[in-house]
C-alpha cells in the first residue's frame, strides 16, 4: 500500500486527476464529505489531504510514502526527501516585489517582509545584501504599502494582486512548480511501486508538454 499526501485545494485536485489517469484512481475521494483518508485497496493506494505546507512533513516523517508539494515548500523547509519529478503544474515564481517607485540603492539595510524566511535569507546572502527580515503569515502585499517593509519576497502567479496594489516584481528568485517527493526510507522498501508511479506520472507530464 502506498500512502500519498496530497495538497488540499485546486492543485491537489489536479494532482489526483494525474494519479487517477495513471491507474491509481480512488473514486471516493471525489465525494463531498468530511473524510480525511481515501483508500483503494485493489490499486494499493491510500490518499489523504493535508495542508500544502505540511505535505513535506508527512513525507519526511514517513506518515506518507510519497506526496506532492510546491518547490517553494522544499526550498523553504529543506526536508530530507527525494524530489523525484517536476509535475510541471502549479507553475508560478518566487519573486521580490515592491512599490513601483521603490529603488534599492544599497545604502541601508533592506527591510524584507515574507512568509519564506529561509528562501529570502539565502537569496540575499548570495548577493551579500544586508537585510532585516519581517516574518509575516499572510497578506504580505500590505507590508510595503504600509511601509512595514521595503520589499516582499513572495509567490507571484499572475501578478494581478501586485498590480491592484500598485506593486511590481523587482527581481525573480526562482521558478516554482509542483514536485513529486518521496520518503527516503519508504523508497528503499517500496522502490518498485514508487518508481512505477513516478514513471507513469512522468509519461503524463511529457504528454501535457
Amino acid at each position: 500500500m502506498i500512502n500519498v499526501a496530497l495538497p488540499k485545494g485546486r492543485l491537489g485536485e489536479k494532482v489526483y486527476q494525474m494519479f487517477a489517469k495513471c491507474g491509481y484512481e480512488c473514486p471516493s475521494i471525489l465525494e463531498n464529505n468530511r473524510k480525511l483518508i481515501f483508500e483503494n485497496e485493489e490499486k494499493g493506494v491510500r490518499y489523504f489531504w493535508v495542508k500544502p505546507s505540511d505535505v513535506s512533513i508527512y513525507v519526511e516523517r514517513g506518515a506518507a510514502d510519497i506526496g506532492v508539494c510546491g518547490k517553494d515548500i522544499l526550498l523553504e523547509y529543506e526536508p530530507d526527501v527525494y524530489e523525484l519529478l517536476d509535475l510541471n503544474i502549479g507553475k508560478c515564481r518566487m519573486a521580490v516585489a515592491g512599490k513601483k517607485d521603490f529603488f534599492d540603492d544599497n545604502t541601508k539595510t533592506l527591510k524584507v517582509a515574507t512568509k519564506f524566511v529561509n528562501i529570502a535569507k539565502k537569496y540575499y546572502q548570495g548577493k551579500c545584501r544586508d537585510i532585516d527580515i519581517i516574518k509575516l503569515n499572510g497578506s504580505i502585499e500590505l507590508a510595503p504599502i504600509l511601509s512595514l517593509s521595503d520589499v516582499i519576497v513572495d509567490i507571484v502567479e499572475t501578478g494581478t494582486t501586485l498590480k491592484e496594489n500598485n506593486l511590481e516584481v523587482k527581481e525573480e528568485i526562482v521558478p516554482i512548480s509542483a514536485r513529486l517527493i518521496a520518503n527516503k526510507a519508504s523508497f528503499k522498501f517500496k522502490t518498485e511501486e514508487i518508481e512505477k508511479i513516478s514513471r507513469l506520472l512522468e509519461e503524463q507530464v511529457n504528454i501535457n508538454d
Partner: protein, 361 residues
C-alpha cells in the same frame, strides 16, 4: 529472565556490543565533555551545527560532546601498521528537528582506524549489515562510493559550483533538476545524459556494478569501481547479501569522507538508522597519517519499532497497613518475587498503577 526487563533498544545495544566484541573491537569509553576546539576545527564534519559549550573552572571552553568519532580519532595511534578497532555506546548532544532544540541522542557504533586493507573495509560493511540484522530482518544496507561520484563530476566539469549543485540533485534523485543545472553550466548533451543515468542508477550490487563497468570515465573512476567490485565479492557469501543495495544518492560530505559510504534503513523507521563510511580526509585534516572507516547506529530512533505495551505495571499489588508486621510483609513480598512475579507493596492503591492482582494483608 533479565531480558524481560530490557527495553527494545537496550536489547539491541547489548546485541551490538556482543557482536562488535566478537570481531575484536574494544569498548571505548569517553568523557561527556571535550575541549570545544576539537569540534570548532571540524565543524562541518558534525551532523548538527549547534554545540553546547561551557567554561570550566580553569577558564577552558568545553563542549558537551556532539560526536564520538572526532574524540576517537584524536586518541587513536597512527603508528605504521597499528590498527585501532573500537566500539562505543554513547550519548551525544545535538540540535535536532524543525524545532531546533538540543536533544540527547544515543549512538552505538564502531571505528577502525590505522593502516587499512580491503578486508577492514569489508569487515566494517559486513558488521553494519549484521548490526541492522540484529535490529530487524527487514532492512536495507545501502552502499555508495564517494570516489566514483567525484571522479564522474571531475570529468564533466572543473567548476566547483556546478559540482555542488549536481551533488545536491544526485542526493535528491532529481534527474529533472540535473538537466536544468547542466543546461545552465553549458554541459554537453552526452555528459548530461551520463549524469542523468547515473542519478537514476541504484539497485543490487551486480546490476549497478555492471552498469558502472560500461562507463568510460577516468582511471580514478575505474579504480573506485574495482574497489567496489572487490568488496562486493567478499560480501557475496554473507547472510543478508540480498539486502544490500548500491545507491549513489547516499552522499557524505566530500571534504571529510572518501571511498565507501554506508547507510542503513529498517522497515518501520522513517529515517536512516545507520550512518558511516570511510573518512581518510578527516584523519588527514586532523594530522593523522592513517585511514579510517566506521559507522554509528542511532539507537534512539529504534524506539518506534518497539510496539510492545504491557497491560500491567506490576503483577501483584500488596496493600498493607501501619499495623502490618514488617516481617510478614517481607515474607509475602519475597514469596511472590520467588514465584517470578513483580510486586509493589503500598499502603494505599496508587491511582495510576495497573496491576494483575491485589492482595491485602
Amino acid at each position: 529472565m533479565i531480558e524481560k526487563y530490557l527495553k527494545g533498544e537496550e536489547r539491541i545495544v547489548l546485541a551490538l556490543r556482543s557482536l562488535y566484541s566478537k570481531y575484536g573491537y574494544l569498548p571505548y569509553k569517553m568523557n561527556k565533555f571535550e575541549e570545544y576546539d576539537l569540534y570548532a576545527k571540524n565543524k562541518d564534519f558534525l551532523v548538527s551545527d549547534g554545540i553546547i559549550t561551557f567554561t570550566d573552572i580553569g577558564g577552558k571552553l568545553l563542549a558537551l560532546k556532539p560526536d564520538v568519532t572526532l574524540s576517537i580519532i584524536k586518541n587513536a595511534s597512527d603508528e605504521k601498521g597499528a590498527k585501532n578497532k573500537v566500539y562505543y555506546s554513547e550519548n551525544v548532544y545535538r540540535i535536532s528537528g524543525a524545532t531546533r532544540e538540543y536533544k540527547e541522542i544515543m549512538q552505538t557504533g564502531l571505528e577502525c582506524i590505522g593502516d587499512l586493507t580491503l578486508y577492514d573495509t569489508y569487515e566494517v560493511i559486513s558488521l553494519a549489515g549484521k548490526s541492522l540484522g540484529a535490529i530487524s530482518n527487514d532492512y536495507v544496507l545501502e552502499i555508495s562510493h564517494m570516489g566514483i561520484i567525484s571522479a564522474l563530476l571531475d570529468k564533466i566539469s572543473s567548476n566547483e559550483k556546478f559540482a555542488n549543485e549536481a551533488i545536491e540533485c544526485i542526493e535528491k534523485k532529481s534527474t529533472h533538476t540535473i538537466k536544468a543545472v547542466c543546461a545552465e553550466y553549458g554541459i554537453s548533451k552526452e555528459d548530461t545524459e551520463a549524469l542523468c543515468d547515473f542519478c537514476a542508477l541504484h539497485g543490487t550490487p551486480s546490476h549497478v556494478i555492471s552498469k558502472l563497468e560500461n562507463m568510460d570515465v577516468s582511471q580514478e573512476f575505474s579504480a573506485c569501481v574495482e574497489e567496489l567490485k572487490s568488496i562486493d565479492a567478499l560480501l557475496r557469501d554473507d547472510e543478508g547479501y540480498d539486502k544490500i543495495q548500491i545507491d549513489f544518492s547516499l552522499l557524505n560530505d566530500m571534504n571529510y569522507y572518501n571511498g565507501i559510504a554506508i547507510n542503513g534503513f529498517v522497515n518501520g523507521v522513517c529515517e536512516c538508522v545507520l550512518f558511516g563510511g570511510r573518512y581518510d580526509k578527516l584523519l588527514d585534516k586532523m594530522g593523522k597519517g592513517c585511514e579510517g572507516v566506521g559507522f554509528a547506529v542511532y539507537t534512539d530512533l529504534l524506539t518506534s519499532l518497539d510496539n510492545s505495551t504491557s497491560a500491567y505495571d506490576v503483577d501483584t499489588l500488596v496493600i498493607y497497613s501501619k499495623e502490618t508486621d514488617a516481617s510478614v510483609l517481607k515474607k509475602t513480598v519475597e514469596k511472590l518475587v520467588s514465584e517470578g512475579k513483580s510486586v509493589s507493596a503500598q499502603m494505599v492503591e496508587p491511582q495510576k498503577l495497573r496491576f494483575k492482582e491485589k492482595i491485602e494483608i
